[in-house]
Amino acid sequence: MNQLLSDFFSVFLATIQDVLPIVVIIFGFQLLVIRRQIPRFSKVLIGFVYVLIGLTLFLLGLEKALFPIGRLMAEQLTNPEFIREWSGSLDQSTALHWSDYYWVFLFAFAIGASTTIAEPSLIAVAIKANEVSGGAIGVWGLRLAVALGVAVGIALGTWRIVTGYPIHWFIIAGYIVVVIQTTFAPKLIVPLAYDSGGVTTSTVTVPLVAALGLGLAETVPGRSALIDGFGLIAFASLFPMISVMGYAQITEYLAAREKQKRVLAENEGVNNAL
């Protein structure tokens, strides 16, 4: 218990240090430039205290429970012995084929999706987008779309590390898809889609994904931790743009088809009446 308390306070201090510049800037500008009372000041202050305590507990819990086991699992799953065991080729002399790594890809997909769902900054953006769009963009619709994007991105990223294809092919191809989608997707979604790329790579996802990337780069023969270990984050921020625009395109298409059906049905009704 004492250990937990002292851990809490050290994380709390670090969080305060992190928040302090923001508080100084906000209140400095508020006092010196805007020179106006903040509306409902005491509520805002209580909100800040909640954010501080919440973030502290969140980080403490991640560090205590999820990160150690997640990192350990990333290490164990990328261990060549484990992969040989499941691939059935215990013969040490044969090289592993990329398809032997299927558990790694599956883990990458699942951990990418599940950590994104829990990402606090994504929740914040989804709440705001829902509010601003008047409910047209669902909180869960956006979060699931982003989670799917991150999952596909990280799974593809781990596959790239195993196969060793150069990273820029994937990134450039991804950006080309983004450019094409941008011209066709509903105008309202584009800025939000661009934002969701940056939002995903935050508190929960980065440490686990980085552990997976480094674990793979260290154990797959011929990979360098420096050059191949990085870059998973780039995948995780590219693919949500594609999936969020895709989500909007599918929603729009379905709505248009629904409307067309209704118009057709109405026309038929008119014809019959005639």
Binding site: I25, A65, A110, A118, V132, V178
Partner: protein, 241 residues
Amino acid sequence: MIALFHSLLGSLRDLAPIVVVIGFFQIAVLQQPIPDFANLIVGLACVTLGLTFFIYGLELGLFPIGESMAQAFARKGSVFWLLTFAFALGFGTTVAEPALIAVAAEAARIAAQGGMIETTEQAQADYATGLRLTVAVSVGLAIVLGVLRILKGWSIQYMIIGGYVLVVLMTTLAPREIIGIAYDSGGVTTSTITVPLVTALGVGLASSIKGRNPMVDGFGLIAFASLTPMIFVMGYGMVIS
């Protein structure tokens, strides 16, 4: 109190997928017992409570302050102070970011190994500080650019796509060792507190300026904040070498 309880249930639901994924892989795939079960439960309780408090405080404090400041600046009508605030917010939230400090130190170590700088501690510290300031300035400029876009009503596509074309071009020119760091620095700059504040600022500005749509014009600040560090860090790597 009821609202807090509701958001507690929400947090439990948000965290359930991680627990399921980790549990499944640990027990079914790796076939190992869960280590240190008590600690895990305490940790999960902390995460759940923490997420609940954070979301609660977000709607009570962070969103309202971001929006009320945006409106106050819009009413004041001083572009200079608005842009100064935008820069300060971007720079100030990034320069002290722990994730960035860690990445900068790592980058300095790699640069020393690669022979780009001297291996002395002083040279590495200088390199790391330079990198940190580069990223912080780039995020400050990103928010300034994003706010200017909202004021002028520029369309975001050309700016972001142009930026990524620049990233791709610089990737081919920059020293190989810096590229991974550059791509990663785009991700580490958008922290959990910055994102809600900056989003509220953008949406607040777009809704208090006539002729702007909060959906089309309000979002996009984060996109700028994760794009410019890549460009600036690769530029930094090219200048140093």
